[in-house]
Point group: C2
Amino acid sequence: MTTRVLPGPRERLLEAAKELTYAQGVGVGVDALLKAANVARRSLYEHFGGKDGLITEVLRLSAAEDEAAYERTMRAAGDDPRRRILAVFDWLGEVIEEPDFRGCRYLAAELALADPDHPGHEVTRRYNARIRALLESELRDLDHPRPAHAADQLLVLINGALAVGATRPGTLPAAAARELAEHLLDEGRG
Amino acid sequence: MTTRVLPGPRERLLEAAKELTYAQGVGVGVDALLKAANVARRSLYEHFGGKDGLITEVLRLSAAEDEAAYERTMRAAGDDPRRRILAVFDWLGEVIEEPDFRGCRYLAAELALADPDHPGHEVTRRYNARIRALLESELRDLDHPRPAHAADQLLVLINGALAVGATRPGTLPAAAARELAEHLLDEGRG
DNA sequence: GACGATATAGACCGATCGATCTACTCGTCA
DNA sequence: TGACGAGTAGATCGATCGGTCTATATCGTC
């Protein structure tokens, strides 16, 4: 059986690390992670090889979850690609207004991991590429004249809203970004 | 005399810390800062009271310099507010393409300083507010119908370009942002 | 030339870092 | 029953953390 009734030390560690690395950054100490997960020190090194392995796995897991959240948001918005894209900004607005919002986890990791060879960088790079591909696909469905370029612009708007949301809470940057996205989507349709 | 021919330990520390905290994040060790600045350990605590004081002062100094850079960029672009604002994005494009670009220093500090009471947060908050005020002033000169709202949007575009530039180097996010800024500036003039 | 302020050099502090190790417990399955 | 794998508990490691300390050197100024 690969399934399990109670979450094992691996799952507990991943969950605790997901929360703590977001709330306090990837600089959190191993002791804090072990205590929060209620896991023996040895288990961390058995399952992940070390702190870097755990952090990388957390990023991978979160990336998959967040990508799924983008897809779920768009699916729930119906079939119109325009509505689906704008729904992303509405959802981001809710995320940003959550009381414990602390900005984009992947950008924070990108900036905090000083070692350029840390495997976490590759994860964040791929995550951004996948979100961008998701957006470009919608833009093609919309028959946008420049889907690749518009996808780059949407990525700027998304990351901008998340960044401003971290520094200036309460200014509703997602709504501001959504409005710019509308202009972008209307391109080439008079 | 308050001026000095050779930079003293205070100036050397600030300069070294400005570089190291950007390249490696605010988590850099005190030893690394002292070594890079060639300064005695004691001098750091005499001048800044501790690591946090040094970091905060670096943020303050950098904020003043960067704000001046915005103003210089706009001044060099002439008198037309539209040109002046778009020049900011051209300048950001150059900054992002610099080989050692590592994203926005203030957002990185905001995300890395886990303690919400760290005085650095106030500095980054004020910095963003001042840049926003700078932009809003230009928008008023331009007789933009919604200067405050448009300033918020420009801030999203700027932070978005810097964020994407950190994660996806070479994709020219500043140019993408500039194009969206043009739409924004043309608002209400048919 | 003496003084005081400002440096430097570096020992030293307790705390914490990430990581390794041993010893013990517990459940499973042969 | 007994061997084994997985997990816990916790001592321990060397390194590094931020910070304090003493001792010495250098400087400008009276």
